[in-house]
């Protein structure tokens, strides 16, 4: 009677005494503060339920009352089961997503680049749980010289969204950080719900600091993920995205330094080679040679100058003659004649001088020879001698001599003084 009278109806309440029977059928009690009713949901119906019923879960059921004859009690035969509010949450999610997308908050253009080498990172997450442990561990392993500031917040439950948003704002105000990581570990849609609330999305959007979102697992997408500058699938992944490996950075610096030194060394080598090539130039190696070259140049220039001068003179002469100045010719001719006369006079003069000189020399030689012949002393060398009286007069005849007179005989190399004993004339007559 009741079965027919009530028909199908929607009821809501909390699950308890949930039994998932190996037969595939589900048995549980639906209760609310006032009453409880036993329920059965057979395998054929519960196959379309996309979650596993748990103790305490709030659900809405579609079913009809039926008498269970074995116990004599009524129970509810359930044909559909929905988690309470889930439909609402999904609807809210889609609505907010559409709204923020329409505002352009998901645009790639809005996204801030992450700092390559952040040194101070802010975390907005629960101070307990796996998420914060993973974050700190990976961050400090990759980049040992790092400051981490945690803003502890509840990440689920009443008021958590407002606390998360406030923490994001606060860390921005402190102006000491380079980057924020906002997130939590995995959980149900309800657990992650704070990250789907508009207040959190607005706080992330307004953040001056770049924000990495790290909510739940790989498969969980929240509104926070859409508005964050970078979405990390997990907290560990967020830490890896946030900081470079310090060892890589140090290696990179070292490489830059080596390039710096190499570039300078290269240039010095190039300059050295150029310098040596220049220093090897003849000008520096053999300055004397270079000077010689210059001197040759000067000579050449002189020659050219001379040619130019002659040319100029010739041109001038030509101009003079071209002017038809007879006087020019006359003057030239008379000059030539005068020159000729001077030349001739010179020749004559020179000739005359020569003749005179020859003549004089001949005469002098003649006199000289005569002088030699005339020199009385000259004959003495041939054995002749002179005899002089005491007064120095030369005796030419024996008649001039007197016996006992002292006479001087002059030989070539000296004089002898002797006295006359007797004298004979050529006839042999003796005088005295």
């Amino acid at each position: 009677m009741l079965e027919q009278g009530l028909g199908e109806l929607w009821v809501s309440g909390e699950l308890s005494r949930v039994t998932l029977h190996t037969s595939g059928h589900w048995y549980f009690t639906l209760k609310d503060p006032q009453a409880a009713v036993s329920c059965a949901m057979f395998a054929r119906e519960n196959a379309s339920v996309d979650f596993v019923p748990e103790e305490g879960m709030k659900v809405e059921l579609l079913g009809r009352a039926s008498l269970y004859e074995a116990s004599g009690r009524y129970q509810l035969i359930v044909s559909e089961m929905e988690a309470s509010g889930r439909g609402d949450l999904q609807k809210q999610f889609e609505a907010l997503k559409a709204k923020l997308a329409a505002e352009g908050l998901f645009d790639e253009m809005r996204k801030k680049p992450l700092p390559k080498v952040p040194q101070r990172i802010g975390l907005v997450t629960s101070s307990t749980g796996a998420a914060v442990r993973d974050l700190v561990e990976v961050l400090t392993r990759r980049f040992p010289h790092l400051e981490i500031l945690l803003a502890p917040v509840p990440v689920q439950g009443e008021g958590s969204a407002r606390r998360i948003a406030a923490a994001i704002e606060y860390l921005n105000q402190r102006q000491e950080l380079d980057l924020l990581i906002v997130g939590r570990g995995g959980g149900s849609l309800e657990d992650l719900w704070a990250f789907n609330e508009e207040v959190v999305a607005r706080a992330i959007t307004a953040s001056e600091l770049p924000v990495i979102s790290a909510v739940g697992h790989e498969i969980d997408f929240t509104i926070a993920d859409f508005v964050a500058d970078v979405r990390a699938p997990t907290p560990s992944a967020a830490a890896e995205l946030a900081v470079p490996e310090e060892a890589d950075l140090t290696r990179m610096l070292g490489a830059e330094q080596r390039r710096l030194v190499a570039a300078l060394r290269d240039m010095m080598q190039r300059l050295q080679i150029r310098f040596e090539r220049l220093a090897d130039h003849p000008v520096f190696r053999e300055p004397a040679q270079a000077v010689k070259l210059y001197r040759q140049d000067v000579k050449q220039l002189k020659r050219q100058l001379a040619v130019v001068l002659v040319e100029a003179q010739r041109a001038r002469a030509e101009r003079v003659s071209q002017a038809g100045l007879r006087g020019g010719h006359t003057l030239e001719r008379s000059l030539q004649q005068m020159q000729q006369r001077v030349d001739e006079a010179g020749l004559r003069l020179r000739h005359g001088c020569d003749v005179q000189r020859r003549d004089r020399r001949r005469r002098m030689e003649h006199v000289e020879r005569q002088l030699v012949l005339l020199n009385p002393l000259a004959v003495l060398s041939r054995g002749y001698s002179l005899t002089m009286r005491g007064d120095g007069s030369v005796m030419r005849s024996v008649a001039e001599a007197k016996v006992g007179e002292a006479i001087t005989t002059q030989l070539e190399d000296g004089q002898m003084i002797s006295s006359v004993k007797e004298f004979k004339n050529r006839a042999g007559e003796e005088d005295g």
């Binding site: 700092p115 390559k116 080498v117 952040p118 040194q119 101070r120 101070s127 307990t128 914060v132 442990r133 700190v136 561990e137 400090t140 040992p144 010289h145 790092l146 400051e147 981490i148 500031l149 945690l150 803003a151 502890p152 606060y170 102006q175 000491e176 380079d178 310090e246 950075l249 140090t250 610096l253 830059e256 330094q257 390039r259 710096l260 030194v261 570039a263 300078l264 290269d266 240039m267 190039r270 300059l271």
Partner: protein
């Protein structure tokens, strides 16, 4: 500190620019030397900056009306 972060990354970027210019071989010797000096100073500064920051993990705690820093122990 935003300034410090920028200075580190800008230093790195500047260093790369300097090295590229030096490697182009188009600098005068004077420019080469000033580039080298600036680059060396940047390397030193970056290295120092990497090591001078101490690892520090803190959390904010409420004290009265204000938030303060306090050491953070991940196991707590």
């Amino acid at each position: 500190m935003v300034n410090k972060k920028e200075s580190f990354e800008e230093a790195l970027k500047r260093l790369e620019t300097l090295v590229e210019q030096m490697e182009s071989g188009e600098l005068s010797l004077e420019a080469m030397i000033t580039h080298f000096e600036e680059g060396s100073a940047l390397v030193e500064r970056c290295s120092k900056q990497l090591t001078e920051v101490e690892q520090k993990i803190e959390k904010l705690v409420k004290r009265g009306d204000s938030l303060e820093r306090a050491p953070f122990d991940a196991e707590a």
